[in-house]
């Protein structure tokens, strides 16, 4: 049983060792751990993208790293993080939102471990909080979709001013995307109809396919997917029906070339990669809130390599103009996670 005394000695020894290590100007070689969010790897978006960044960061720096999945990631979070810290890991990243509160507490117990949390801000000199501007990126997606949806000269587009969005679960984190999308669409066309539905799953592509088809039947010709693995089905539906989907989190344009209008890329891979690199170089952004919004290129619309020729340049220019406005602070995009729900959405 670890008595207080033993723990204190251990902490002091660790502190001394890291002091010596620091003073010897050695980069932190302790391994890194990344805890995968509910839903696990294979979602084709959040977890997978973050993991891609994690792996590339590890490769570049030579730091050893492990990903941890769990069927009970919500309840086990504290145990896992503590185990990692006890087990000598120098960098602990969690992709699971619920871990924010226990992490804040743990960071105080383990001042020599570097902690990273996503989509929220936590206080602590050894915690880095990464906040994304998915609402801003989604605004741009909505603005583009609203312009395209009535242009019948583009193949697969009908005359109705109707677009759709399918979320994985009804949750503020997802509604952040949806509300931004609606706001962007309405900025272009205040009378546009945006159909909203939730698949209740981040891993049911068959359902995604059906839901997208239902929206296409109701007149939508562009459907934005914010549903992880379920979205794979949404993109397939667009391909089969000759309409359009908008991808999310990673560049999904290639999943159905020509039928994915664009993707709202969320560079969690870049974020994680930069953090791992910074950690390895003894440059961990502890205590900082790292913004990954439009201005920092943390979110963006994809290059649209397969659809650029289909879409009139004027539309893309208008989207770029909106982007500039948002970055300059002239346009405020509603952020569900910090402002709650707006009047125009339920």
């Amino acid at each position: 049983m670890m008595t207080n005394m033993t723990r204190r000695i251990l902490q002091v020894t660790t502190a001394c060792t890291s002091l010596m290590a620091g003073s010897a100007l050695w980069a932190d070689e302790r391994p890194a751990a990344m805890i995968i969010a509910q839903g696990g790897l294979g979602d084709g978006s959040w977890n997978d993208t973050a993991n891609a960044g994690f792996q590339s960061g590890l490769e570049k720096t030579g730091v050893e790293g492990r990903t941890i999945e769990s069927a009970d990631v919500a309840a086990q979070g504290e145990e896992i993080m503590r185990r990692a810290a006890d087990g000598g890991f120098g960098l602990v990243i969690s992709l699971e939102w619920i871990h924010g509160e226990p992490m804040e507490m743990l960071a105080k117990d383990y001042p020599d471990t570097n902690w990273v949390i996503m989509n929220q801000t936590r206080t602590g000199d050894n915690i880095a909080s990464v906040v994304f501007g998915e609402h801003e990126g989604s605004f741009l997606a909505g603005a583009l979709a609203a312009q395209v949806t009535t242009d019948t000269s583009i193949e697969g587009i009908n005359a109705d001013a109707t677009i759709g969005v399918i979320g994985g679960f009804k949750a503020p984190g997802i509604d952040k995307f949806i509300v931004g999308y609606i706001q962007g669409a309405k900025a272009v066309n205040p009378d546009i109809e945006v159909k909203v539905a939730y698949a209740d799953s981040f891993g049911d592509p068959a359902k995604g396919l059906q839901m997208a088809n239902a929206m296409f039947d109701e007149g939508a010709d562009i459907v934005y997917q914010v549903a992880g693995g379920t979205g794979i089905g949404i993109i397939e539906a667009a391909k089969a029906r000759g309409h359009y989907a908008i991808g999310v989190d990673s560049d999904q344009d290639g999943m159905a070339p020509g039928n994915v209008l664009t993707s709202m890329v969320k560079r969690v891979d870049v974020a994680v990669d930069e953090i791992v690199t910074g950690y390895a170089a003894d440059n961990f952004p502890g205590g900082e809130v790292i913004q990954f919004g439009l201005a920092e290129n943390g979110v963006a619309l994809s290059e649209m390599t397969h659809t650029k020729d289909k879409v009139p340049a004027a539309y893309i220019e208008r989207v770029t103009a909106y982007k500039a406005q948002i970055i300059a602070g002239e346009l405020d995009v509603w952020d569900v996670s910090s402002q709650g729900y707006p009047d125009f959405f339920k």
Binding site: G40, L41, G42, D43, G44, D48, G164, K170, K195, V196, A197, Y198, D200, S201, F202, G203, D204, P205, A206, K207, L209, Q210, M211, N213, A214, M215, D217, E218, G229, T230, I232, G233, E236, A237, A240, K346
Partner: protein
Amino acid sequence: MQVEQILVSTLILTTPILLAAIGGLVNRQAGIVNIGLEAKMLSGAFVAVIVSSATQSWFIACLAAALSSAVIGWMFSLTITRAHANMIVAGLGLNILVAGVLGFILSWVYKTSGTLRQPDVVLLPDVLPEFFEKIPVIGPALSSLDPLTIFAWITVFCLPFVLTNTRIGLWIRATGNAPHVTRAVGLRSLAIQDASTAFAGFFAGLAGAHLALASLGLFNEGLTAGRGFIALAAFYFGRDRPIQTAMACLLFGFLDNTQIRLQTAGFPPKLIGMTPYLMVLLALIFTSVRAQRKARL
């Protein structure tokens, strides 16, 4: 336009559940409640995608899926009939085990996670020629018919006859309803039960093949998403009778469809999603109350 599309999507949504439910009801008639349908659907989908890509034939793919799931079903059945495993827990365990095995294969053999795409997966073909689509109202539904859907419905209509009028049907029902009689007559009731579970596996495998090959063309770990349990609800709702079960499946397919459209009209998604389950519960109560009243007379 709307009505036609609703017909098409209801048909497509119904088929996998219907196939699984057919297998499940026969299994239950023989006395086994098959909770492990999910596992066999999932493995069927997996096999279907791989074989379809390898052999470029949807038929062989479906057959392979059905047979592999039948084998799994048969082995699973042995633990119940010979080793007296509790069928509910064994079924749940099977679901977890198969999900784990498939996940494992995906990451170690195919070096991918969650989704498996294979080159040139052959999808299920449309059975009827193109001009059928022009028929009003039911046209698009007819033209989207695929072989598995047709097979499912043919089975639905043949099954009542087989169950009531053939010897095999009699054996199955006797094994489930009057095990002592079956034994007294000298029938090998355990073998019959195993065969019925293999049958359930066969159809569950086809259900999985349909999920993968009807329109998606890929395998994903979450492909079944609880459909095995909806199939279970369907054959309970239908009191193990093929036609009633098929109606239940259609109802669920239709509800699922409406649920999707109701969502865009603003109803809370989570509450609508529970409609099929609520319906089963209410139907169960209703039919049981009625049966009791009749028995009292």
